[in-house]
């Protein structure tokens, strides 16, 4: 950058800063209003919304379970442990499989539409907008699909999940640190040592990831697949460089793990250096690498286990089904739709779908039996059997249109726009110059707060004009006569804004067109 440009940049920056300071010091109404507007938008609840998370649970084998936002459609990925990453293609395959599964369960619905609907009942939106009132996870069963890059393993274990095997060649996998029952790091070490005796450095990295809740034998089976890919590259190269600098910050953790590290050093000793000091550094160096990897993966894991959402969703959905089902006709219609689905899909490839889609409906059917018994008890009757009372989610909301799909953030933005428009109208209404008056007269001089404009009475026969007039006709007349200005085009933003302002001042007054 040339010196001239530097000086120019500095001047512009100084000017901008002084302008902001000046505006703030003068407390200009414009400045305040802009600031307030921004503040209100930034403070909106909508911005504070977070993406929904789900606790998809985990399979018995400890493999990753992936779940859609509906809280129902899920799938176990065989061979993929928590914290490990899939390739882009593999992830896409899983996504497609999940969506295909969902599509089979909801043949008449569109995913975006369905997830865009409010689920709080009576049009309310909540943070769990996308997490529909799903039934608890264990009741679900989904079919399996062929996914490229994964080995399909057939039916889900324990009838819960679709299982997909991750190919053993999953190249870039990070080890996860799941908050599971603490297993001593020393435990897996012997297994690793036996599994990979030729590469002693591998004894350092695999333990934390390969420490499953299951028996150490299982860890022994998974360890060889993942350990050689990550551990050898990370451990030996980073050890000498990171150890001196990272040592002070890691000292407490390292000291705490000193007892656990002892067996590891024992295994590392013969291959590396016989000196005890070197072994100490060798045992210490893995620790920072471990913590580094663990920190990001922890956040990933956290998204999988928000227990709060689960409990929140679970409670209302049960009540919904309870209040819904008393009408026997409703359950009948549900079964009718079920029978339709198989007839529509006679193709061979779809036949497994039919059998599987039957499963969720079967799992739902137990609920009506419960509801029948509950409706028999007369005590908790809702205030309004259709919309009111505690069981307000009893009727399913209409879905599928974008017009009804909005949330509080949308509403706030719309309101802010409307208020700004009204404010513009207020400014014109109160300013003879903006109004185009040639005699210094503005509307507010006769109509403070737009009083005595009675917009709710239009259209009406305006005797003086000898015709039916709209509010804007009267505004135009006023501009032309007492204000002595030029009439405005019907699409003039000033006229439209003034109409908005006048109407806003009569909010709540019943429309009464034709009134005199």
């Amino acid at each position: 950058m040339t010196p001239h440009k530097k000086i120019l940049t500095a001047l512009v920056a100084a000017f901008s800063l002084s302008a902001v300071v000046y505006l703030a010091a003068n407390r200009s109404p414009q400045f305040d209003s802009i600031g307030n507007r921004l503040q209100s938008i930034l403070n909106s609840d909508a911005l504070a919304q977070q993406l929904p998370t789900h606790d998809a649970g985990e399979s018995k084998s400890g493999d990753v379970v992936v779940e859609l936002c509906d809280g129902k459609t899920r799938m176990e990925i065989k061979g993929l442990k928590p914290g490990q990453k899939m390739t882009h293609e593999q992830a896409l395959a899983v996504t497609r499989a999940l969506m295909a599964d969902w599509g089979r369960q909801h043949p008449d619905q569109n995913w975006q539409m369905a997830q865009g609907e409010p689920q709080g009942g009576a049009g309310e939106w909540s943070d769990e907008t996308n997490s529909t009132g799903a039934t608890p996870a264990p009741q679900m069963a989904v079919p399996t699909f062929p996914i490229p890059g994964f080995a399909e393993t057939g039916a889900a274990p324990a009838g819960q999940y679709t299982s997909i095997e991750v190919p053993t060649a999953a190249p870039t996998m990070h080890h996860t640190h799941r908050p599971r029952p603490k297993t001593p790091i020393a435990t897996p070490v012997p297994a690793v040592a036996t599994a990979a005796p030729l590469k002693p450095t591998a004894s350092v990295t695999p333990p934390p990831t390969a420490a499953p809740t299951t028996a150490p034998t299982k860890a022994a089976t998974t360890a060889p697949t993942s350990a050689p890919t990550t551990a050898p590259t990370a451990a030996p190269t980073r050890a000498p460089t990171t150890a001196p600098t990272g040592a002070p910050s890691v000292v407490p953790a390292a000291a705490a793990a000193a007892s656990n590290a002892q067996p590891a050093t024992a295994s590392a000793k013969p291959t590396r250096t016989p000196k005890p000091t070197r072994t100490v550094t060798a045992t210490h160096t893995p620790t920072p690498t471990r913590t580094r990897i663990a920190t990001p993966t922890r956040t990933v894991t956290a998204t999988h286990t928000p227990t709060a959402t689960r409990t929140r969703i679970a409670t209302p959905t049960r009540t919904v089904t309870v209040t819904h089902t008393p009408t026997p006709t409703r359950t009948r219609t549900v079964t009718a739709t079920r029978t339709v689905t198989p007839t529509r899909t006679p193709t061979v490839t779809h036949t497994p779908t039919v059998t599987h889609t039957a499963t969720p409906t079967h799992t739902r059917t137990p609920t009506p039996s419960r509801t029948v018994t509950e409706t028999a008890t007369p005590a908790p009757t809702p205030r309004n059997p259709i919309i009111g009372g505690p069981g307000r989610r009893q009727l399913p909301l209409q879905q599928g249109d974008t017009y009804a799909s909005f949330n509080q953030r949308d509403v706030k933005i719309w309101q802010a726009n409307t208020e700004r428009f009204i404010q513009e109208g207020k400014e014109v209404f109160h300013d003879a110059d903006k109004l185009g008056s040639t005699i210094g007269v503005s509307c507010d001089m006769c109509h403070p707060n737009a009083a005595n404009t009675h917009p709710e009475t239009y259209p009406k026969y305006q005797v003086q004009l000898q015709r039916v007039a709209l509010l804007r006709d009267m505004i135009e007349w006023c501009i032309e006569n007492p204000v002595k200005g030029k009439t405005m085009d019907p699409n003039d933003p000033r006229l439209r804004a003034m109409e908005a302002y006048i109407l806003s001042q009569r909010k709540g007054v019943p429309l009464d067109y034709g009134k005199h």
């Binding site: 007269v441 507010d444 003086q464 007492p482």
Partner: protein, 382 residues
Amino acid sequence: MAVRHKSVETKYMEEREKALRGLRGLDRRSFLKVLGATMGAVAAKGLVTPHSFQLITLADAATEKTWSKTGSEGKRPFTFAYISDTHLYERTLNQRFVRAAVKAVEDVNALDPQPDFVLFGGDLAQLGRRKELELGKQILDELKAPVKMMVGEHDWFFDMGEAWQDMFGPPNYSFDWKGVHVMVLMSVHEKDFWTPLKMTPEERMHTVAGLDNGTQSRFMVGEDQMAWMEDDLSKVPHSTPLLIFSHSPLYKYYRAWNFWTEDADEVQDILRPYARTTVIHGHTHQMLFNQIRNISFYGMLSTAWPWPYAPQGLPALTVQMNRADPFDQFDGVGDGQFYVNPEGLADAIYNLWDRNPVTVNANYLTSRGARDKPPPPQFASY
């Protein structure tokens, strides 16, 4: 191209012009016909036409039957006229309000007998400029009767009353007139809202001029002036009738529009020992009546434009005037007259231009509406 509709007012003016043109070439026979018809119309109405071709009933107030006869032999010690809220711009900018002010002066000058004095109720100017005040003074100088001036907020907040005081003297003063003690107050002081906001005089004036501009403060008489009132009244016996003029109502009607005096209660307390007290104010541009304990209040008309009644706080005794016709500049505006009886109580005549005047007897207020109720509106406000 949309069809242009002529308003009734325009059509009327066209017909009037046509009739006047026709009169110029009138022969003797036609002239007598017109004369006869006119006389017949006047006779049928029973009164003369006051201001225009429209026949209206002029002032029942002018007849003996409507006067308060509480005094001995029904004598009226004095009368005065009231003109207020002319809101004049410079003559080059706005002729509309000038026409109205001139009309008021002509009205008062036409009174026979002439009133003892004319009270101008404030807001002579619109934006407080010296030229506006000079124009107002020039118009008011045409009045035959002596003029007593009162200041309004539109006269004050551009230069904080400097020009006004140069022309008309101190804003608050008192005098005795035929047994009645008269006080003229400056009731539109406001707490300093402009200094923290670093407003220019123009901005300050524009803020105060906006009736619904919530940035400004509320009107006040102020402690200094109340002390002056107490001092001034200390020499006046409690039996003396008081006649108080203030620009803003000395009670609390509607705060959002400054139809309000913040320290009105304290001022009323000062006036409480005086059994017969009448407060007459401008500012609200509408017919307003109120009675609070011993004090009768009259809110008077503007010559410039009428204001709608506020959505809240309307005094119960107020009988609203008919809704103003926006197509008629002189509807809902006007001037007034007062007749002060020997008891020191004042009867008011609201001289609404282009309408029948409305008389409000002091008995109506002192009896809390039990007697002499004014005629109700035919076309009340929304």
